[in-house]
Subunit: 156 residues, 2 copies
């Protein structure tokens, strides 16, 4: 039997003033954080809600890259927008109930086009952070191939 794999991830936050502080980790650069304007903070700094959505977005991208590599899918470009919806849920207060992921994938060759939707779906299902949250995750991808970067290819 192999040893169970357990990993730990640590961050430290330090309050500075009002609704603001700095977050960092061992060997991670400090990032200015605070409450968003709608909760008595201000624009221009990372909020808990943005960090949460960023975590899903990053996990999704990295999982997609890993599966694309294993599937020998050559990529030219990859970006993704993630939008989280915070709303009141009766009986349990505010929750991020939904995250919409809009990946934009540019692949090297048109011949791989039909493989991409499955790989995107697998990335959504296998992301460690997606597995750890209650929010519903929706996928709204655009896929292009290198020869015609201006024309999106409809999926599905």
């Amino acid at each position: 039997m192999s040893e169970p794999k357990v990993f730990y991830y640590e961050t430290e936050i330090e309050w500075t003033k009002e609704k603001e502080g700095w977050i960092k980790g061992p060997s991670l650069p400090a990032v200015s954080v605070g409450a968003p304007p709608e909760f008595k903070g201000r624009e221009g700094q990372w909020t808990p809600e943005h960090l949460f959505v960023a975590s899903i977005n990053t996990c999704f991208m990295l999982t997609f890259l890993a599966i694309a590599e294993n599937s020998e899918l050559p990529l030219v470009r990859l970006s993704s927008t993630a939008k989280g919806k915070l709303e009141k849920v009766p009986g349990s207060g505010y929750q991020i109930t939904e995250i919409v992921l809009k990946p934009r994938v540019v692949i090297a060759s048109v011949k791989d086009l039909e493989r991409v939707p499955r790989i995107l779906e697998k990335a959504k299902e296998n992301c460690f952070v997606s597995n750890s949250i209650k929010s519903v995750i929706k996928l709204d991808p655009e896929v292009f191939h290198h020869q015609t970067p201006a024309s999106p290819c409809p999926l599905g």
Copy 2:
């Protein structure tokens, strides 16, 4: 009936090379992100797991600050360490199953000491992001008062 309150939080990620990229948001500074060393990345940049733990840590701090303000609890200093445990869960792959929050609170006056544990507990229960995740959150606080900053006061 008042209008239901819904807020949206957006981030964009751009792949740069290997298992790395930049994450940003509308009006948010870009942060370098990537996979951790144990998943074919490297040290020194924010990972999805660190962002997830940072989100909980920041949410907890801001919720505590809001409740402390409402409760008229004067604070001198506030910091918090959060450690997330990533492990394989049978049947559903890797998950962040647990987050241990270690807040360190310095209050202005010894007379408020007994109110702090309840406010910490409320902050844990009312954080929007905690409400959105499956991970178990544990609290392991240290509370000091300003007159004796070197002596922790045992809680409970």
